[in-house]
Symmetry: D4
Subunit: 217 residues, 8 copies
C-alpha cells in the first residue's frame, strides 16, 4: 500500500513559490500518487531531480503531459505561469559542468513566470571572460551564480555588481572539491558582503529566493 | 612598520554596501591605520567584531568618535546614512543567546539608513511564541532569522511568510551544535524553498543582503 | 566453510526485544545459516534491510515462509507475537521519502505485538499539516518521528505533545544533508527537551526503544 | 538595552517538563531578566550549565534563593516539585569524570519530583564492576548511562537489563575522543537494540526523556 | 607499456613479514607483472583484497596456482611457510559480518606458518557469548579482535585477558558507523589499556603485528 | 559529596598492567579520593596527565609521596615494580616536541619494572639521523615511535627493524596537523605492514601494549 | 540546446600553460562542442580524466585525431609542443597504483614540450628502493612525487634532494586513507621544508606547476 | 633532564634551505638547548612562531642576539645570508590580517639572501585593487599569495601572471572559514592550473619552496 500523499497546494498563495517535488528519492508509485493528486486538483507542478530512468517508468499519459529537460533533469506537468516581463535575473556559471544546476534555476523561474539571461563558462581563472559581461549582468537586480571547486566567481561578481548575488555551489570537481563542500564553504566565507548561499546543486532553491526577492518590487 | 592599508572606499557606489572592518583579527596598529584612513577620506565606517578589549586600546579621540554597542560588538565611526523610511526588515531570533548576532544585523542596517523590527526568543519548541507574531513579520519583504542548535525557526518561518527569509546560523549550543555548523547545515538543507543562508554568526552579511535586495524596489 | 552462527535467542526474555538480523552485509550462506538455526529452535525472526536481490537468492522454501514488505525491506519468518491492544505509538514522517524508515519501525512493532497509527508527509514547511494531527498524536505515549534534511518536525512535535518523542533521522536529501548526518545533528541539538535519537534510518531501533518504554506500564 | 525575554512558562502543562535555562551563553543581564520574570510569575526554575563565575556575578538576593550544586553546575530557583515515590531511574557512569553529567540528570529529576539511584565508576574495562550491580539496575524501568571515550558501558547494559537505556555521551577523553563525538557515534551505532541517545554531556535532556517515558505509567 | 614493478622481496628477512600485494587498486596487467616477478624469483606470495572479478581476468595458469578463499578475498601463490606449532593467536569477531576481515588475518597467519583459533559472533550485546570463551581466549598471547559499529568487544576483552589485544575495526554498519570510522575511534579511545589498533578492515596488518610480536618469544 | 571511587585494583593480576589514573579531567576532590583509596589498599599508583596546577592543589603529604616528572606530566605514588632486566624497548621520536609523550611511555614502563633506550629527534626529513641508530634500535623486540605532523618516521622504521613498532601519533604541529589526527591517519594507513597504533599522545597506552607483548616471552 | 563554450585559448600566452579540458563531468555534447571549437581555432588540446567510456561515445573522426593513453586517461587532440630539451623533471611514485596519476603528469609535460624520467614503486617501507635512485633524481630541478596512504615518500625525498618537490597525494588505499585525504594532509604537514602540494590525483596540476617553475630558467 | 637535541645542520648543503626551529610547541629549556647548539656550531638560525612570551623567558644574552619581528613572530639568531640580487619574489595578501603570514615568508627569504616586493590588502572583492598591480607582480618568477576565508585571490592571480603562484591559506576568518581549512581546500581545488599550496599559515614553507624553485636558474 502506498501511503496517502499530502501536497502543500496552497504554498504559492502563502509564501509566493509553489511546492516542487524532489523526485530522486521517490519510488514510481510515490511519483504517480503525487502526479495524480496534482492532476485531480488541476494544478501545474514542477518536478526536480527527475532522472531519465524514473521518467521512463511513468505511465505514457503522464510522460506525454510532462515537459522534460534533460540537462536540468526537470519536468513541468501542466502549464507554467504566464511570463511576467523582461528578465530580472542573470544566471552565471564558472564552467560548462555547472550548467545543469543553472538550468534548474532557469526552469524554476520559467515555471513561475520569470525569465533570465544566461552567461555561462566565465570562471575567474580567465578573468577577461567575466569582465566582458559585467555591465550586462549588473543591470539585473538578482544574480544567480553557480560555481564548483573553489567557487571564486560569485565572490568576484559580488564585488562588481549591485544586485543581490545568490551563490549556488556545485558538486563539480574531485579530491578536496569534496562533492561541493569546498565550493559551499568558500561562498559562505566570501569576503564580498551580502552574498547569500543555498545548498549544493540547489538551483531550484536559488530561483525560489530570487522570486521571493523580486516579489516586493 | 605597519603596512599600508588599502580600503575599498568606493564599494558603496559600486555594489550598494560599504566595506566594513572585521576588527577581531587585527592588531591595534592595524585598526588605527584603518581609522586614520577613513578619517582622512571623510568617510563613516562600520566596525564589526570589535571586542571591548580592543576598543580600550584605541586612542581616546577615536574612542570618543565611535558609537559602540556591546551586545553586537559593533562600532560606528562618524555618521550613519540618514534613515530611509519605515522598517522593511524583520529580525527574529530563536533564543536569547542569538541576540548579539541579531543586533549586528540591526546595526548594519542602521548604518546604511534602514530600520527593522525585532522579534526575539520565539524558538519553535514553544510554537505559540512565533505564531503570535507571524502576521506582523509577514508584512516585511525581508526576514532575517537568527537561530542556533537545530535552527528550526527559519524553516518554519519560511513556510509561513512571503518575504525573503535570510537564515543566520549562530554558534550557540554545545556538543553536536558544533560551533554553529549543525545550525548552518540544517538551514542549507531546509525543506522550505527559497531560504538563503550566510556564514555562522554573520549578522553583518545578512543585513548587506537585505540592503541589496531592497535596493531594487 | 561458513562459520557457525551464535544467535542470542534468549534476548527477548532478558531485555524485552528479540535479536533481529541485519541482512544487508551478510552473504546468502550466512543468511541461510541464520534462518536454519531459527527454524531449528522454533523461533520467529525479524529480518531488517533485506534487499529484494538478497531475498531472491534464498531457497524457495525460505522465501515462502518469509512475510516480506518491500517499502521497509523487512521480512518476518514465522509468526509475530499476537497483538497486544490499541495503538500506543504514533509514527510520523516529514516527507514521502521517509516512509520506508517509518515502516521499518511499524513492522518491528508489529512483530512484537504492538500497533501504531501512521501520520505521513507532515513536514513543518507547511505547518498546517502537522497542526491538524497534533491532538491525535498527543494521545499516544510514544511518538516515533522520522525526518531527513533539517529534521525540524520532531522538534516542533516535542514542543507540542506530552509523549516521549523518538527522533529517527533519515538519509533523504542531497548536498549538506550528508546522508542523514545533518538531520541527526539537528535532532541531537534540538531545543525541545526530552527528544531522544537513534542512528540514521534506524526505524528498528526506535521501535525497540518504544517497546522497552511501554513495557513498564 | 536588554531585549525582553519570552519564557515558555506553560511548557510543563503542555509537554510534561519545564523549560530550563541554559546559562552558559547568557550575559549576567540576560540571566537577571530571566530570573526576574520567573520570580514575577511565581515559578520555580532549573538553571543548567551555570558556572561558578556566572553565579558570583548575580545580585546577592538571587544567589541566596538559588540552590547551587557545583559538580553538576546546576541551580534551582524556588522549590522543586515534591518527591513522587521510590526511585524509578538508575543513573550509571563509566568513570569518575562522567559524574558531573550524571548529576545534571539527577538534579533535573529531583527538580521534577523524581529520584534515582546512582551507580558510578563501573566502566567495562573492569567488567566485574558493572556485573555486581546488574540485578539492582535491572529493577528500574529507566537507566541513564553516562560514558565518554568509547562508551561501551551503555551497550553492555542495554544487553543485560530490560529497562529503557538512555545513553549520554560525555566529553571526557583526549585525542580521538574528540570532545565526546566518538562516544556519541559509538552509542548511536550500538549493536544493542533500543538504546536511545541525547547530545554530548546532556544530562538534562536524558532526565527529561526519563520523565516523559515514566509519565505514561 | 606497463611500468616495471619493484617488489621488496627481502622484506621477510629484514622485518619478519613478507610484502603482500594489495590487489584491489591494480589493473590486470599490473597483477600479472607482480605474479611474473614472484614466479621468476621462486617466491610464494600473499594476495589481499583480490576480488573474484579480478581473479577471473588472470590467465588460467596463474589461476590454477593461486589458492583462493572467497570469504577473505585472499589468494596464496605457491607454498605457505610450513606450520610452526600450536595456535598462539585467538581471532574473535563481534558479528557474522566481521568474519571476512577475521579470515584475512587467519590466512595471513597461515601464509607465515602460524595458526589461530577462531571465536566468532560473540558481540557484547549478548555478554554471555564472550564470557563462555574467555578462559580459552585468555590462554593465547595474542588476541585479534574484529568488530564494527561501536566495537565494544575488544575493550571488554582487553579488560579480561592478559594477551596483547589487537583491535581491527570493520566497515560493517550504516549511518554513523561511517564505514568503520566509529569503530576505529572507539577502539583508539578505549578505556582498556594496551589495546592497539590497525586500519579499518586491515586483518592483514593485524596478523603481521601478531607475527612480529610472537617472533621475540 | 564526592561519590565513592571504585578502583580496579586487581587489574594487574587479570591483564598484566595496572589501572592508571587519568588526572586531567578530575577535580581535586576526586584525585584525593583516588589517592586515599590506593593508600588504604597499600598499592602504588601511576598518575598520568597530572598538570603542575593540579599537583599544587593536593595536600602536602600527598605531594611529598608522589614522584612527579614535569616533561611527561606523570606522577608515581609509592614504589614502582622492581626493575626486571635489560631494556627490551626502544623509544624513538621524530622531533623535540614529541618528547613529553615519549617520556609518558618511559615512565609507564618504569612503573611496571621495564626499562627502555631513548632515541630522540630523528625525523626522516634528515634521514641520516635515524639511519645511524637503526642497528641499535633493531635489537629491541618493541619499538615505540612517537611522531607528529606527517608521522613518517614510524613507517620508515617499521620497514627497517624486525621488532613490533607501536606508533604514537602526537598533537604537535599546526593547521592540517589537526591536533594529531593527520599523524594518526598517516600511521594507520602506513604501507609498512604490522605497524600498530594507539590514540594521539597516548604514551601510556603504547607502554601497556609493550608490557603485554613482552609478557609472553 | 547545448550552451556555447568559452575556451580560454590565450591562456598559454598569458600564464604559460594551456587550458586543459577536465572531461569526466562533461556530457558527450559538451565534449564535442569543446573539440569543435579547438578544431576551428586550429589549436591542440589536452584532455584529462577522459574515461574509455566517454571516448567511445565521440564521433569516429574525433576519436581518430585523439592520441589516447589509458593508464593516465589522457587524450591529446592535435600536435603537442615540440620537445624542448633533456628531462628537467623526475616523476616518482610510492607504489604501482600511483602510476596513473604519475602518467597524467608525464603526458601534461609532454603536451607542453617537456620530458621527464620515471622512477616508480619506490615507497619508503623498503627504503633501499628510493636510496638507489636518489643521486639520479637529485639532478633534476623539479621532482613530482606521487604517493597515497601515508605519503611518506615525498617527505623523505624533500630531505634528500635539492630540487623543488611537488607532492601529489593519490586516492589509493582504503579505510582511513579516505580517498587521498590522509595523503594530502600528511604532505601538507610534512616536516620537510619547501614541499608544495596539489589536489588529490592532480598530476595535471603538478606538471603545470613544474612548467611554470622551469619557465624562468 | 632535557634530552639532547640533534640539529640537521647540513640541511642547507643537502637541499638548499636550512632547518628552522618551530618554537611554539617547545619549552624554554628546549629552546635554549637549540640556541646553544647553533651557537656552538657557529651557525645562524631562523626561529619561527616564536611568541613574545617565549622570547621574554630566554636569557638576556640570547635575546640580545636575536633579531625579532613581532608581526611575523620570527627571530633570526646571527647573520642572515648576504642579499643575492633584485627581488625575484612578489608577496601578496588578500587582507590586512594575512600580513603576519606574508611577513614570515619575507623574513625566511631575507634569512636566505632573497628579497621580495610586498603587495598587501588586494582581495578580489574589490577587483581594481589587484588589477593595478598585475603588471608589476607579473614580472616576478615566483608569487607567494596569502589569503584566508574563500582565498579567491591566488586563483585570480594564477590566471593573470606567468610566474609560479604558491598559495598560502591563512587562518583568518570565523565560522566556516574553519581555521583556514576552507581557504586551503579552495586553493587546492582552484580552477587555475599550476597553483601549488602549503599548510595553513605556513609562510616559512612557501618561502622555502620559492628558494628551491629559484635555485635552478
Amino acid at each position: 500500500m502506498t501511503p496517502r500523499v499530502i501536497l502543500d497546494l496552497d504554498r504559492a498563495d502563502r509564501v509566493g513559490v509553489t511546492e516542487a517535488v524532489l523526485c530522486e528519492p521517490k519510488t514510481t508509485d510515490q511519483l504517480i500518487a503525487v502526479l495524480d493528486q496534482a492532476t485531480a486538483a488541476g494544478r501545474s507542478m514542477l518536478l526536480t531531480r527527475l532522472t531519465p530512468g524514473q521518467l521512463s517508468t511513468l505511465p505514457p499519459d503522464f510522460r506525454a503531459r510532462i515537459d522534460y529537460e534533460e540537462v536540468s533533469r526537470t519536468g513541468i506537468l501542466g502549464e507554467p505561469t504566464p511570463a511576467i516581463g523582461p528578465a530580472r535575473v542573470a544566471i552565471v556559471t564558472g564552467g560548462t559542468s555547472d550548467i545543469g544546476v543553472a538550468r534548474e534555476a532557469l526552469r524554476t523561474l520559467f515555471f513561475h513566470g520569470h525569465s533570465a539571461i544566461e552567461v555561462y563558462d566565465v570562471g575567474v581563472a580567465g578573468l577577461w571572460r567575466i569582465q566582458q559581461h559585467v555591465t550586462t549582468i549588473g543591470k539585473h537586480p538578482i544574480v544567480i551564480a553557480c560555481a564548483g571547486m573553489d567557487a571564486a566567481l560569485p565572490t568576484v561578481l559580488a564585488g562588481l555588481v549591485p544586485g543581490l548575488v545568490i551563490g549556488v555551489p556545485t558538486s563539480v570537481g574531485y579530491g578536496v572539491a569534496n562533492g561541493g563542500r569546498t565550493a559551499l564553504n568558500s561562498l559562505l566565507s566570501s569576503c564580498a558582503p551580502g552574498l547569500v548561499v543555498v545548498n549544493i546543486d540547489n538551483g531550484y532553491g536559488a530561483a525560489c529566493a530570487a522570486i521571493k526577492s523580486l516579489r516586493h518590487d
